[in-house]
Symmetry: C2
Subunit: 451 residues, 2 copies
C-alpha cells in the first residue's frame, strides 16, 4: 500500500474513540482560538469584499459565513471562512486550523454533522497536515531547502489535501474515495508566500478549504483522480520537492499511535506573522527594563525576516502583520502589539511613519549548524546608551485561561459577549454537540451586534 492509500485508509478507519483524550482537549482549545481569530477578521475590509462577491454569486444558502448574515454554498462558505481565518495572521503559528476548521465546519453544517464528527475530522485533518508538511518540507529543516523555502505556502498546497481529509471524513468517504479526494485536491493546490501582507494571503487558505470541500464532494459523486498522487511520478511531491528532498518516513511514522494534536501547537500572543514575535518580545522587554519612551530612541535594529515579512512599506492594515518596521514602530509608540493597532489609520499615521524610520534592518547572523539563530534587538538612545537583548524562544499562550481570554477579546470584536460565551461553551463541550449547525447560529445571522 503506497503512502497516499495508507493515509486515506488511516483517515477512514480512525474514529474519535481511537484518539487520545488529550488530543481532543487540545483540539477544542485550538478550534476556539481560530474561531475567535476568524470572528475578529470579519470586521476587516477583506470581509466586506468577499461578502459582496458572495452576494453576487447568489448560491444556495447551505452554510454560514462567519461574522455576517450571509449563507452560501458549502464550498463557498469554506472559501470565505478559510480566508477570514487567515486575514489576521493570528491563528496558531503552525497554521492548519485556518483551512481544516472551515472545510469541516461548512460541509458539516450542510450535512448536520455532530460535534464529535467535527472534532474527529479536525484532528485527522490536522494529523495529515502535520505529516504532509513533515514529509514534503523536510528539506527546510535540514538545509533551508524544500518547497516553503522556495516560495510555496503550505497552507495552500498541503493544506488543500489536509482540508480534503477533514471534509472527506465528515462525508464518510471510503478509502478509495478519500485517496481520490487527495488527488482532486492536488489539482487545485497552490499559493505563494509572496502574497503575505496582502488580502490574497488569506485567500490562499480559503482556496485550500474550498479545494478540500470540493474534492470530497466530487469524490463522493464518483469523480476520478490519481489515487497515488503523493508518491507518483509527476505527482504532488514530484512537483513540489526536488529529488531526495522528501522524508517519506515522516509521512506515516507512528501513524495512529501518535496524534500530532496531542501536543499544543504554539498559540500566538501577537497578531503578526511568527518571525516578528521574538523581536517584539525583545523590544518590549528592553523597554520595560530601561523605561525609555519613543522620544528617547535614536534607532531600533532588528532582523526584518524579509522572507516572511516583506512589507517594509505597508499601505493597508493587512500588510501590518508582515511589516517589521510597522510592528516595531507601534511597539515603540504604544508599548504593546495588539489587534486594535492594526488599522489603516495607524498605517498612515505620521507619528507611526516617523517611528518606522527609526527601525532598521540588521540580518541575524546564522551560525553553522544552527537552524534558527536567536533574534537580537538593539535599541540606541539619543543619550548614547545602547541596549541589546537576544531572544531565543517565543513566548506563546499555553493555559486555558490565556487562550480563552484571547478568544474572548477577538470574538467580541464581532459577537456580543453573550454569544461569544455561548460559542465558547459549545466548543468546550464539542464532543457532545448533536448538530454543529448550532455553532454557526452563534457566528452567522442578523443579530451580530456587539452588546
Amino acid at each position: 500500500m503506497g503512502p497516499t492509500e495508507t493515509l486515506a485508509q488511516f483517515v477512514v478507519d480512525t474514529h474519535l474513540r481511537d484518539i487520545p483524550s488529550k488530543a481532543v482537549e487540545i483540539s477544542k482549545l485550538v478550534i476556539l482560538d481560530v474561531l475567535g481569530v476568524t470572528l475578529a477578521a470579519a470586521r476587516q475590509p477583506v470581509a466586506r469584499i468577499l461578502n459582496e462577491y458572495l452576494r453576487e454569486c447568489g448560491a444556495a444558502p447551505k452554510a454560514g459565513v462567519i461574522g455576517s448574515e450571509l449563507r452560501t454554498d458549502t464550498a463557498l462558505a469554506a472559501w470565505a471562512n478559510g480566508s477570514l481565518a487567515f486575514v489576521l495572521d493570528f491563528d496558531d503559528n503552525i497554521h492548519g486550523s485556518t483551512h481544516i476548521v472551515p472545510a469541516a465546519l461548512a460541509i458539516g453544517e450542510g450535512n448536520n454533522a455532530t460535534g464529535a464528527t467535527l472534532l474527529e475530522a479536525y484532528i485527522l485533518g490536522r494529523d495529515i497536515c502535520f505529516r504532509l508538511d513533515a514529509a514534503l518540507d523536510a528539506g527546510r529543516r535540514k538545509n533551508q531547502g524544500g518547497p516553503t523555502s522556495r516560495g510555496w505556502f503550505a497552507g495552500g498546497t498541503t493544506g488543500s489535501l489536509a482540508a480534503a481529509a477533514a471534509a472527506g471524513k465528515v462525508l464518510g468517504l471510503n478509502a478509495q474515495q478519500m485517496a481520490t479526494a487527495f488527488g482532486i485536491a492536488a489539482s487545485g493546490a497552490g499559493g505563494v508566500r509572496r502574497n503575505f501582507g496582502t488580502m490574497a494571503k488569506a485567500l490562499q487558505t480559503g482556496n485550500a478549504a474550498r479545494n478540500g470541500v470540493t474534492a470530497a464532494v466530487l469524490a463522493q459523486k464518483g469523480f476520478s483522480a490519481d489515487q497515488t498522487i503523493l508518491e507518483a511520478p509527476m505527482g504532488f511531491a514530484s512537483a513540489l520537492c526536488l529529488e531526495g528532498e522528501c522524508d517519506w518516513d515522516a509521512l506515516t511514522k507512528d501513524l495512529g499511535k501518535f496524534f500530532y494534536m496531542e501536543q499544543l501547537p504554539p498559540i500566538k500572543r501577537f497578531p503578526t506573522c511568527t518571525p516578528a514575535h521574538r523581536p517584539i518580545e525583545g523590544f518590549l522587554a528592553l523597554r520595560q527594563q530601561h523605561g525609555f519612551t519613543a522620544e528617547d530612541i535614536e534607532s531600533v535594529e532588528s532582523d526584518f525576516h524579509l522572507r516572511s515579512l516583506s512589507r517594509t512599506d505597508p499601505q493597508e492594515a493587512i500588510a501590518g502583520p508582515n511589516s517589521m518596521p510597522f510592528i516595531l514602530a507601534i511597539a515603540l509608540l504604544d508599548g504593546k502589539v495588539t489587534l486594535e493597532q492594526f488599522t489603516d489609520e495607524k498605517i498612515h499615521d505620521p507619528r507611526v511613519r516617523a517611528a518606522m524610520t527609526k527601525v532598521r534592518h540588521r540580518p541575524n547572523e546564522r551560525r553553522p549548524g544552527q537552524m534558527e539563530p536567536p533574534d537580537r534587538i538593539t535599541v540606541k538612545l539619543k543619550n548614547g546608551a545602547v541596549h541589546t537583548i537576544e531572544v531565543a524562544e517565543r513566548a506563546t499562550l499555553k493555559t486555558t485561561t490565556e487562550i480563552y481570554a484571547k478568544y474572548m477579546s477577538c470574538a467580541t470584536m464581532t459577537l456580543s459577549r453573550t454569544r461569544a460565551e455561548q460559542l465558547g461553551q459549545l466548543i468546550d463541550q464539542l464532543e457532545n454537540v448533536p448538530d454543529i449547525a448550532v455553532l454557526m447560529t452563534c457566528m452567522n445571522g442578523d443579530e451580530l451586534t456587539i452588546d
Copy 2:
C-alpha cells in the same frame, strides 16, 4: 517597471486595432476548435457529475454551462466550461484555450461583452500564456528541467494567470488591478500532470479558468495581492522554478510587436494526449503500407511516453487518451483513432484488452543534444515479418476546411447541425458580434438535442 507590471500594462494598453489581422483570423479558428471539443465533452460522464454539483450549488444564473441547460455564476461557469474543454485532450496541443476561452466567455457573458472584446481578451490572454510558459518552463527545452518536467501542469499554473489576463481585459481593469489579478490568480495556481487520464486532469484547467475570473472580479473590487508576483522573492517563479531556470527575456521579448496567435498552434488530428500522435501516425502508416490486420500481428512496440501517458491499464474512458496500449489497440483493431472509440465499453471490451497485450513499451533513445527524438514504431507479424517506421513530425490540421470539419464532427455530438453551423458562423464573424451572449444561446439551453 518589473515583468509583472510590464505584462499587466501591455494587456491593459493593447486593443484589437493593435493586433495583426492574421492573429485575429487564427484565433477564430482556434476558438472554434476548442468550442467543438468542449461540446463533444458535454456528453462525457465528467459533465454529468459537474452539472449535478453545480445544480446543488444553486448559484445565480449569469452564465451558461456549455452543452447543458444549466446557468450559474460566472466563476462556476468558467470552472465547468474550463473543465469540459480539457476532458477529451483534443484541444490544440499547446493548451491554453481550455482556460482562456471559458474565462473570457463566462465573464463576457455576464457583462454583455462584444465579440471584439472576447477576441481581444483571448489573443492577449493567450499571448501572456505563451510568454509565461516560454519564460518559466525554459528549463524544459534546455535540459528537460523546469516545472513541467517535475510534474506541474502549465494549464493550471501559468494558465491561472493567463485566464486572469483575459478575464481582466473583459472587465477593463487598469494596470494596477491587472497586476493584482495576477497576484490573486497565483494564490490558486496549481495542478499536476499525474492527474492526466482522470477526471481531475480536466478540473485543473477548470480551476485555472475559475481562478482567472475570480482574480479579475476581486481585483476590480479592490482586493489586494502582490503586484510583482512573477519576479518577487517567494513569488510565482521563485516557487515554480529553480535558480537560473527562468528565461526572463522570453517573458517580454517583442511584446506587442509579435503576437503568438499570429502562428497557428498545432490543431490536433487525434483525440489523445500529444505524445501519442506520432506513434498513432506511424502505426496507421505501417498498416496502410503493409495491409496487415489485427489477427496478423504478434506485437507492436512503441515508446509509451509514460510521463504524460501513464494510464497503461485504463479503467474508464477518460483514461483512454493517456493510455498508449489502449490507443494503439484501437488503431490495431479499427484502423483509426477517433472520438467515438473512447468509451467505457471499448475500454473494457475483451477484444481491446487482448489487443492491448500485444502493445509493448520500448522507450525512445534520446540522442545527445536532441530535444525530442523521432518516435519509432515496430510491428512484428505472426509470419515473422517485422515492419518499422520512424516519425519525426506530427501531422496537425492546418486548413480552415480541416479545422471546420473537426469542429462539426465534435459539436454535433451535442448540438443539432443547424445550431453547430450557427455557432460556426458567429465565430467566423466574431469581431462583429455585438453581444457574445448569442454564442451561449447556441451552446446552452433546453433545445440541445441532435437533429
